[in-house]
């Protein structure tokens, strides 16, 4: 069992998402930065879709009651096992009753803790990702217990590790393609979108809002589908970048779509970070 001793800021279990149910109004969910999540699973030789822990800004404090191996990839939150520094991007041996906790955030915004074989919380509509009301909470609860399989012995020491791609964390360019309503914007508005430094405002797993506004006279559209990575422009000029827990449809014009890599990179950005849209065909 894994026991949650301290919650952290916004900690949940995620996999690669709940696919096939958008037509019933169910958001996809899944790890925000799927590149880092998959890396953590790869280190353990897990399936890419194994459920892991997503930590946001400030990590939790966790007690492992059984022997296992873990890997931590993504933001550097100064992980420690039993108060001793634990490196990112490599295999870590965990003995029964070891405590993992995090200290200062050094770079990035979200980090992933994968366990050998994946966390075994219950599957809802084909996914273990937390999403209320399908699961009882969006985030960890105090003293929550989560099952994982134990291992008998640690495998011989491995040197597997993954190099950090710095660009993944400090790239200011967010790669986008034109959204269905992009061409309805006038040339001036299009140029503004592509030549402005945008500051990240309020953000969560549903959407990242940008602080700069784009005043516009775009009409609402007939409610249509939206996906993780869709960028919406509201009548009041707000720019909303929809993320993994976004609703399945909306009525605001869709001006861009983020590439998968851009969604992953944006997930490592936080309040007040600066980004620029880069248009790809």
């Amino acid at each position: 069992m894994l026991k949650v001793l301290k919650l952290g800021l916004y900690t949940s279990i995620q996999d690669l998402g709940r696919w096939g149910f958008m037509k019933y109004g169910v958001p996809v969910s899944g790890a925000m930065d799927q590149l880092s999540a998959v890396k953590a699973n790869l280190l353990l030789n897990n399936n890419n879709n194994c459920a892991l822990i997503e930590c946001t800004q400030q990590g939790p404090k966790l007690l492992f009651t059984k022997t296992t191996q873990i890997a931590i990839c993504g933001a550097d939150m100064s992980a420690q096992i039993n108060a001793i520094d634990a490196p990112l991007n490599t295999l870590l041996n965990i003995k029964a009753n070891d405590i993992l906790h995090f200290r200062k955030l050094k770079y990035g915004y979200r980090t992933y803790i994968a366990v050998k074989g994946g966390f075994q919380n219950s599957t809802v509509l084909g996914s273990r990702s937390y999403f209320q009301p399908l699961t009882k909470s969006n985030v960890f609860l105090k003293d929550e217990l989560i099952e994982y399989d134990t291992i008998n012995d640690f495998p011989p020491a491995s040197t597997s590790s993954i190099a950090v791609n710095e660009k993944h964390f400090n790239n200011r360019l967010i790669q986008v393609t034109k959204g269905p309503e992009f061409e309805l914007l006038n040339k001036q508005a299009q140029a503004y979108l592509l030549n402005t430094d945008f500051t990240i405002g309020i953000n969560n797993r549903m959407a990242y809002q940008l602080k700069e506004l784009l005043p516009n006279k775009m009409p609402s559209i007939l409610t249509s589908a939206i996906l993780p990575g869709t960028v919406q422009l509201t009548p009041s000029g707000k720019i909303l970048i929809l993320m993994r827990d976004a609703q399945t449809n909306g009525g605001y014009p869709r001006i861009f779509n983020l590439s998968e890599a851009a969604i992953n990179q944006l997930s490592q950005k936080r309040l007040a970070d600066v980004v620029q849209f880069e248009l790809k065909n």
């Binding site: 958008m22 019933y24 109004g25 169910v26 399908l134 007939l222 249509s224 589908a225 449809n249």
Partner: protein, 220 residues
């Protein structure tokens, strides 16, 4: 991939989309991850990215499809309790549109609504054909929590909140039917093209869970 129809809400487009969606799901199921219908569009997520090949296939399928216009779907009769304790905006709403509460309930129960698609929240039904007399713009300030089952009016639409959620609709009652069931496959029993009608139940029946969901073929 986004496929758009003329941007209107009407039943011809609904049945056209519905027929095409069924054909895509039957013929291309091995490539399709999601196929999401809305009023006038289909959004499809494919597993592989050979779009040229897929577009050719889709065009051929669309050309050869037969629209099942007569396939109106089930008629569902769903209970709603319009007591003020559940329809907490009923007073203000009826004043705003200049009707009595009785008239509001009668108009709301009179129409047969067409289900266009499911979205917004798990199991939320997008219903068309709301009586014009009941139109009222959403509240300018959304409420933080609307209870599960709340029946509301927002602009030109009526709907039921399948789960508790923030929302800006005027709440006129509550429907005790579970619209989304995780243990069922699929989790929603409703299909685009189904017909929905509401009928009034008393607060006692609501509290004692005494109601039935009536299901008929429209012409039966």
């Amino acid at each position: 991939m986004l496929i758009e129809w003329p941007q209107q809400i009407n039943e011809d487009i609904l049945y056209n989309i519905k027929s095409f969606q069924a054909i895509i799901e039957n013929h291309l199921s091995e490539f399709v991850v999601e196929c999401i219908a809305t009023y006038a569009s289909l959004t499809i997520i494919f597993k592989n990215r050979n779009y040229d090949e897929i577009v050719t296939k889709l065009k051929a399928l669309y050309k050869n499809k037969e629209v099942q216009k007569t396939e109106k779907g089930q008629l569902w009769q769903l209970p709603v309790c319009y007591h003020k304790s559940l329809g907490f905006d009923l007073d203000a709403y009826s004043k705003a549109i200049g009707l009595s509460i009785k008239e509001v309930i009668s108009l709301h129960c009179q129409s047969i609504y067409t289900l266009y698609f499911i979205g917004f929240l798990p199991g939320f039904l997008y219903l068309g054909n709301l009586d014009e007399g009941l139109f009222l713009n959403r509240k300018s300030k959304p409420k933080l929590t609307i209870p599960k089952g709340s029946v509301g009016i927002g602009g030109q639409q009526t709907g039921i909140y399948p789960q508790a959620s923030p929302g800006g609709w005027h709440i006129i009652g509550n429907c005790p039917v579970n619209l989304f069931n995780l243990n069922e496959k699929p989790p929603s029993v409703f299909r685009a093209g189904d017909q929905i009608q509401f009928y009034e139940i008393s607060l006692d029946d609501f509290r004692q869970n005494k109601f039935s969901v009536l299901k008929n073929m429209p012409d039966a």
